[in-house]
Amino acid sequence: MGITTEELRASRKVLAEFDYEPAEIEKGYSGKSLYINLTDLTIKPKDITEQMKEIFIGGKGFGLWYLWNAVKPSTKWSDPENEIVISSGPIGGITQYPGSGKSLVVTLSPLTNSVMDSNVGGYFGPYLKFSGWDALEVQGKADQDVVVFIDGDRGKITIEKMELDPGASHLVSEQLTDMFAESEKDKKNISIVSTGSGADNTLIGLLNFSFYDLRRKAPRLKQAGRGGIGTVFREKNLAALVVRYSSLSGRSNNPADPSTIAKTGVKLAREINKFDDEQFRMRQIGTANLMTPMNDYDLLPVNNFKFGSHEDAVKISSDVLRSKFTQNMPDGCWVGCALSCCKAVDNFELKTGPFKGDKVIVDGPEYETAAGLGSNCGIFDPDHIIEANFYCDTYGIDTISTGTITAFAMECYENGVINKEITGGLELSFGSADAAMELIHQMGQGRGFGKIAGLGVRRMKHFFVDEYGADEAFLEDIGMENKGLEYSQYQAKESLAQQGGYAMTNKGPQHDEAWLIFMDMVNKQLPTFEKKAEALHYFPMFRTWFGLMGLCKLPWNDIIPESNKDADRPELIPEHVQNYVDIFNAVTGKQIDKDEMIRQSERVYNFQRVFNLRLGFGTREHDAAPYRALGPVTEEEYESRAERYDNQLRDDVGINPEGMSTADKVKKMREYRESRYEQLIDVVYKRRGWTTNGIPTIGHLCELGIDFPEVIETVKNKL
């Protein structure tokens, strides 16, 4: 394992330090944020203003506001002025209500060149706050690899250099936990943010946030995966962020009304105990519980999103993955999460790569990882998925993007767009597990074809067209990216609402804004454009709220309360929405209701849209979707579900498919689906208070109270 803890400790050299008196937490806020500039090694506190709390709330809201003030319209992701901002939120860090320990990370993305946000578990965000900082801004670029250590116990911050190899995140987390903890018992008080060599070598770098697993006696890693945040981290020559805080208690967040929080938390924990085993089995399987139903409902991406199911999917079913988890106790990514969906495979012996033969702990695989690295690449081998999951995490590359990139490369390979000569010998056909694994190593290590794949689908498309004369239109159709970000792993062809839920997003096609497939495609609850638009307003606003608070989405609707069967709108899970309102009020002492909750999100959501505009994006053209996300691109896809599509032509389009060639049917279907998508955009924009070009109107911004001069100026210039 290279350097020992003692050697690492001996190599430490403090480059800058800052002593402070940790601010008392008052109703969920410390009232201070920490600013670090790696270029000139500045470390300084900033005040969190009342206006920030009122308008931006916390978490992603704070991240957006700080980033807005840090960058110019011309700033690129790799410029020193770009920032990485980490903030939890006012609810973040409470231990009584499940799912309350998330951190939100905001930066300019190397994939989209616009604003990226990612929601991640692990202990860093709460420990940061309890160390006195509601947010951390990191700007500038160090001239050598540095570690930032925030010692919340002593009130001391240091920027240090040390003999740390930042190439493998699992080792970095272990080494730094060992070194910064003052005893074995103290390890649980440490959280590390790190990445791996893949973040140096690709644009899809992620950040791993650790929490120390007392039973396994090892740090576990949770990922801020999307959009290349880890790539920005390494561009700044950050090797790691470390926080230490040892006084965690149920009162650390100092809420206004602890008893309401306790009561509400106990109620949810009881529900989880009572119903989880018969509902989603989050405690047993975690999000991998979705593998089987997604396949059953034709929603599991297969072969670069061509299909939604596969007969071999049974080999990577929810229960098969469950049998791989070596888990016998609930396991949460933050203290007090009774839903405890974290899963791990212990003593997994690696068969490939630099750690071949090592027995390691693998976090996950989560649904997205299993679908992305598995079925979407035509690979139905659980051990491959687990090994690929491990390497993506330790190299610091996003499993979702990796899956979608590999699947795209495979389809290009099968269509002769690229060949063995171009891939350096990799036979990248669907189902080629060895080639897919080797591609991960190449991306992680910056070798061979991995250097091209690591650029992401958008740049790969351009590269294949420019260098190899590929058919641009075909690549635009099958390259599953929007805004430069790779699609996450759901087949959305049969849900128009979800097509919007993916492509009409602020950051790109991640399903954390809206997941409407069942409501739309299965339950048929959204039969009109207006109903779809209402859902595409409500859910993105509602779900944005989690990211303002430091909350996890899963305890909202991955456990269903008994009251839901009598609810008017069961899909909203009204009892849980009320829990959130109650908890927010109990933490902050404010008095909001569920409508104000949506307004809080709407402010930040629209601000993010304006931020995109300011950076040259955020208009209608950027909400276009690749046709693979809307319908069957190829005759093969059409034929695979010919009865369904023929019926749709007959019933929905009003065309008799009899006697038509498949090519003609594909064409007619495409015209119909593309026009429906355009109609949907019109109605959604209207519902969101935007122009037909997707720009928030001045009136809407005034109504929301985010009519700051620079916001209005930005919008005026685009109208």
Binding site: E278, F280, I573
Partner: protein
């Protein structure tokens, strides 16, 4: 015929809610069923007969992946 979430399927003799969900391949763990507007408890699915021409709603309770 029986309408399930707006999809018309052939009615069969002895068609229970459970059988109907199997035909639809509705395997999701959280489904709330109504037959002609009447809620049918999960425990009743194996025995509750779906009459011909029924309108069945099998409401899948998930709003988020």
């Amino acid at each position: 015929m029986v309408s399930v979430n707006g999809i018309e399927i052939e009615w069969q003799e002895e068609m229970t809610v459970q059988k109907l969900l199997q035909i639809m391949n509705y395997t999701f763990p959280m489904i709330v069923v109504t037959v002609n507007g009447i809620p049918v408890d999960r425990a009743q699915w194996p025995v509750y007969m779906v009459p011909d021409k029924s309108v069945v709603q099998a409401h899948h309770l998930i709003a988020g992946g």
